[in-house]
């Protein structure tokens, strides 16, 4: 059997093993990597950075553990940025299963930035209603959230007493893994002209560029790459930055296998045609 024929019949489990090595090795040896910040991520960063200290930023957790490796680093980076800017953070969510991830991120970031629950941030949790709730908050947030995640009335927190609807929210951040970001943009951005930035999984990112082009959102943080760029902008490398060399090695291997596979296929076909 010739080399190319042998390659075309290689056991797929060997390819899985190669991919596992390509991803695991860079995590261990940590090669140096340069993060180049793209315009959509810079715009998202600037939208947060422009807010005056004391402004309210609402972060919607619209992802769950299935996409946490991509979106959780964004949440941590945005929280660090918001706390550093002394913004008041309201965390909510359209996916109930995502809220424990918000708690994990808040419990990690708030103590390191000396932020106190109730004074600097609140987690108002999840309520059902989807798009109807998004629209309803434009009238009065208390129609849906009278208490926070733990059942404490939101009016017992000083900064929350001034928050009634989107007019009191400087920026909405949707960290999404599905079409929830589209809903925020269409229902809240369209109706209330709310400034929005979106952090999303790589799968969703291409669909959101149309909103950025139309000026409907201020920025996009797309996938692990976007998260690493945001980490670079706040000068605080985290899990996303650590993952980028693994991402590059993984992509490199896939591209190499694509080339080998196609060359092998073409040569095998040529040989078969000659045989006829």
């Amino acid at each position: 059997m010739r080399f190319w024929d042998r390659l075309s019949s290689v056991d797929s489990r060997i390819l899985y093993l190669l991919l596992a090595l390509a991803v695991a090795l860079p995590l261990v040896i940590k090669p140096k990597t340069n993060i180049r910040v793209s315009e959509p991520v810079r715009s998202a960063f600037e939208a947060v950075d422009r807010l005056a200290p004391g402004s309210v930023i609402m972060i919607s957790i619209d992802f769950d553990p299935s996409s946490a490796p991509e979106v959780q680093p964004m949440l941590i980076a945005v929280l660090r940025h918001a706390f550093r800017k002394d913004l008041k953070v309201i965390v909510t969510g359209q996916l109930a299963l995502g809220l424990p991830l918000a708690e994990i991120a808040l419990n990690q970031v708030a103590p390191e930035m000396n932020k106190v629950y109730g004074r600097d941030y609140v987690n108002i949790g999840y309520r059902p209603g989807g798009s109807a709730m998004m629209v309803g908050i434009g009238r009065e947030i208390r129609d849906y959230f009278r208490t926070d995640y733990k059942g404490v009335p939101i009016d017992s927190f000083e900064f929350m007493r001034k928050v009634h609807n989107y007019k009191d929210v400087g920026l909405l951040v949707s960290l999404a893994h599905g079409a929830v970001a589209d809903a925020w943009i269409q229902f809240v951005g369209g109706r209330y002209n709310q400034d929005i930035i979106v952090g999303c999984t790589g799968v969703n990112a291409p669909n959101l560029y149309q909103y950025l082009h139309a000026g409907q959102i201020k920025g996009i943080i797309g996938g692990l790459q976007g998260a690493s760029e945001y980490e670079a902008l706040i000068a605080r490398p985290g899990q996303a930055t650590l993952g980028m060399p693994a991402q590059s090695w993984g992509h490199g291997l896939i591209i190499l296998l694509l080339i080998i596979g196609n060359v092998g296929f073409l040569l095998s076909r040529k040989k078969k045609e000659k045989g006829k």
């Binding site: 991803v23 995590l27 261990v28 798009s131 149309q210 139309a214 991402q247």
Partner: protein
């Protein structure tokens, strides 16, 4: 501390059990798969109670009664009945009853969605497309939109000038598919990185 260690070991074992499917189907994978489905269902029920039914119905009813807002309290019977009607779907003989609350939900969804689609999608997108042809980007957007629209025009055979334009449309569509696929590959690798990070950082403290 001990609970954290146990939790990490359980999570690591389940991760390895799921990944073992890449070698071949096996009992460890099956166990992990069933545990995942069961826990997800249990979690969903818990959350439905904790975040939907209790605060929006039980607590709201009690609070309104306590504050003597009788109308706001008793009107909650309407969504309660609609919710019970929705559950009839699981009983074949009376499954038809669930159509009423479903129509109610569809009606609300359509009403809200129609406005949002026009106000928050269609008009801003049209406005963003119809821009002066003074930059290359705007020109590319024009060509892309027109060519793609022509590709989906099926009332006339794609021959001659229409054929050429629709072929340009295919190129734009393929570029969009390529970008989407590239991002999807990145997303999947990211998930793998996330799991390996967990295994090498939280479980085996190889990464510091």
């Amino acid at each position: 501390m001990l609970l954290n260690i146990i939790g990490t070991w359980v999570a690591a074992s389940l991760t390895l059990a799921i990944l073992s499917f890449l070698y071949k189907d096996n009992p460890f994978y099956k166990v992990a798969e069933h545990i995942y489905v069961g826990i997800s269902a249990g979690f969903a029920v818990l959350y439905a109670w904790a975040f939907d039914i209790y605060p929006m119905l039980v607590d709201a009813f009690r609070n309104n009664l306590a504050q003597k807002n009788y109308l706001e309290a008793w009107i909650l019977i309407v969504p309660t009945i609609l919710g019970i009607m929705m559950l009839c779907r699981s009983i074949p003989k009376i499954a038809w009853i669930s159509r009423w609350p479903i129509s109610f939900t569809v009606g609300i969804g359509s009403g809200l969605g129609l406005v949002a689609s026009v106000q928050g999608y269609l008009l801003p997108q049209i406005s963003a497309t119809l821009r002066p042809l003074i930059t290359i980007n705007n020109f590319v957007v024009y060509v892309g939109v027109i060519a793609t629209l022509f590709y989906f025009y099926f009332s006339k055979e794609h021959k001659g000038a229409l054929g050429v334009v629709s072929r340009v449309g295919i190129i734009f569509i393929m570029v969009a598919f390529g970008a989407s696929f590239g991002y999807t590959v990145m997303a999947r690798i990211s998930l793998l990185i996330g799991r390996f990070y967990f295994l090498l950082h939280d479980w085996l403290p190889i990464i510091r």
